[in-house]
Symmetry: C2
Subunit: 330 residues, 2 copies
């Protein structure tokens, strides 16, 4: 089997999830990793038997990989993606695609100019419970979808969080751009529908200007359905829960899996469909490798990644202005 | 002890909760009940050893009670309250105060003209977990309040629901005016703060025009804090849950009671403060009787009841127009 040579930019937590997944993808041959922290990159390179670099540009020049996984701090996404595209290297770019919409456009332009593949790492698309929800919505088996709620509690300011996350210039924002991106993605992906407008209220802890610690977001989808996202980053209580309300039932997905309550049922029933993050990473990388080998476009495009960033920019603007923001006019 | 003579208009479910509570209030002497359904009113009158009427006006004329509890279908609230006020009878008026703001004003005017007491039956104010939340917010012990969520699932279209609830002219609307009124009330009461603006999306089942079956409501309070209310009336799964998010913790209240997670705690802790609806009804009626005996104004005024109706009108208008509605401009 022909293998694609994959290099990785960034040796943080997400990067290591990609590396672990890569070991299970037959079509992938890992070749190198780059990170500015020499000890970290050498440790990872040693673990995986690949080459280590402290400069991802040097890595690209020397290794000439078929594809690069970009898992750098958010503010470096645009620069790294454009550099890769200009060298004809295909790109699997971690979410969020970039910090602002204009950077997404720069990436999209570089990718089109150089005719490389670009896939945005919206891992939610590979989550079994999420895929099942999408199927149930499309099948109409619970009738019309009425509304969606998405709730995430997570200590966003935990000491082990890398410090660049707490700097607006580097991270682009706080809990909204980092975790809210998944929530917005899941809403768009499951409903096959874009977001029309947002109204949002954020709060910021005194210590980290520009890094929002909580958000309540009211979304209206293009098809008129509403959704609410509640994000609380100040708490140690963990929650990750989505509910899809239909005319004839409710779907609920939590860390424990997918649950259904059909019309007339007083309790949720376990569908025994549970997320497997490692498997999701494998599926994602499998699709990326296949798109390089086959020439097919990856399913998660730059335009899609940009739509998430646009919604996030709408959220920030809504909080600043107090207004409901129509994304088409943003 | 001097007792106040209390008559009751309406013999439905809520009315019977009032009657049951009245037996426990020493300052109250129940005298009569009126309902258009003769059999029902006679049965209730017999159970409580009081007089039965099919016309509440006749009841007021004959019995000359000190106070009347009005627990009639929503569209009769205004008429009944004005008739009582004009006869110098003090009023405990069930929520929602009326179907529209203009009716609230008519009631307030009649009450002021006739110098009677008016108390709106916002029972939430007597709920122990709600009172505790209000105290914790005021004490600042969990730091600044950040956001609120309120979620209610309840089969709104169950066969045993009286049919007038499913007629817009009689009920004023659906799940928002009936259950959402409690949610809006709890948000205002616990925060000691009025509502500034609303954005809402409702859905309506085909069978009942004007009777909304679900709602997502984004509220901004006068102090800038946001809150979200999710109401789903299409399901048999029951839920009644409020969460108050603070800088240093979360409060959660469910049917099981009040729970707290202080900063750093990974799980909620039971505060062992549970709602007792019967006791709440007793406390409410005790306050009403005391206000008649002492001449003090009841704590839940007509202006307060009107503020809830105004917010609900804002919700309906927001859904119709797709706009965020500033209540001051309504």
């Amino acid at each position: 089997m022909h293998k694609v040579k994959i290099a990785v930019a960034g040796a943080g937590i997400i990067s290591q999830q990609h590396l672990k997944a890569a070991k299970e993808v037959e079509a992938v041959k890992l070749v190198a990793i780059a990170d500015v922290i020499r000890e970290k990159t050498e440790k990872v390179a040693c673990d995986y038997g690949i080459n280590a670099y402290t400069d991802y540009i040097e890595m690209m020049e020397v290794e000439k990989p078929d594809g690069i996984i970009i898992a750098l701090p958010h503010f470096l996404h645009k620069e790294a993606a454009v550099e890769a595209a200009n060298r004809g290297i295909n790109i699997l770019l971690e979410k969020p695609m970039a910090n602002i919409v204009e950077e997404c456009d720069e990436i999209i332009n570089a990718v089109e100019r150089n005719r490389v593949k670009l896939m945005i790492g919206h891992i939610v698309h590979f989550s079994k419970p999420i895929i099942k929800i999408r199927e149930i919505i499309q099948s109409n088996e619970l009738g019309k979808l009425i509304m969606i709620t998405d709730t995430r509690f997570n200590n966003y300011f935990k000491p082990e969080r890398p410090r660049w996350f707490l700097d607006k210039k580097q991270a682009g924002g706080g809990i909204v751009i980092n975790l809210g991106a998944h929530s917005i993605d899941a809403i768009q992906y499951t409903t096959c529908c874009g977001i029309k407008s947002v109204l949002a209220k954020l709060t910021y802890p005194d210590e980290y200007p520009g890094i929002e610690g909580s958000a309540q977001i009211f979304l209206e989808l293009e098809n008129g359905i509403s959704a609410v996202i509640n994000l609380n980053g100040y708490t140690s209580v963990k929650r990750d829960e989505k509910e899809y309300h239909f005319e004839r039932g409710i779907l609920k997905v939590t860390g424990e899996g997918l649950f259904i309550a059909r019309k007339g049922q007083k309790e949720f029933e376990n569908m025994n469909i549970v997320r497997n993050k490692q498997k999701d990473m494998v599926d994602q990388l499998t699709e990326f490798a296949a798109s390089i080998l086959s020439g097919r476009e990856p399913s998660i495009t730059g335009q899609y990644g940009k739509s998430i960033i646009k919604a996030i920019m709408g959220v920030y603007k809504s909080n600043e202005t107090g207004k409901k923001i129509d994304l088409a006019k943003l």
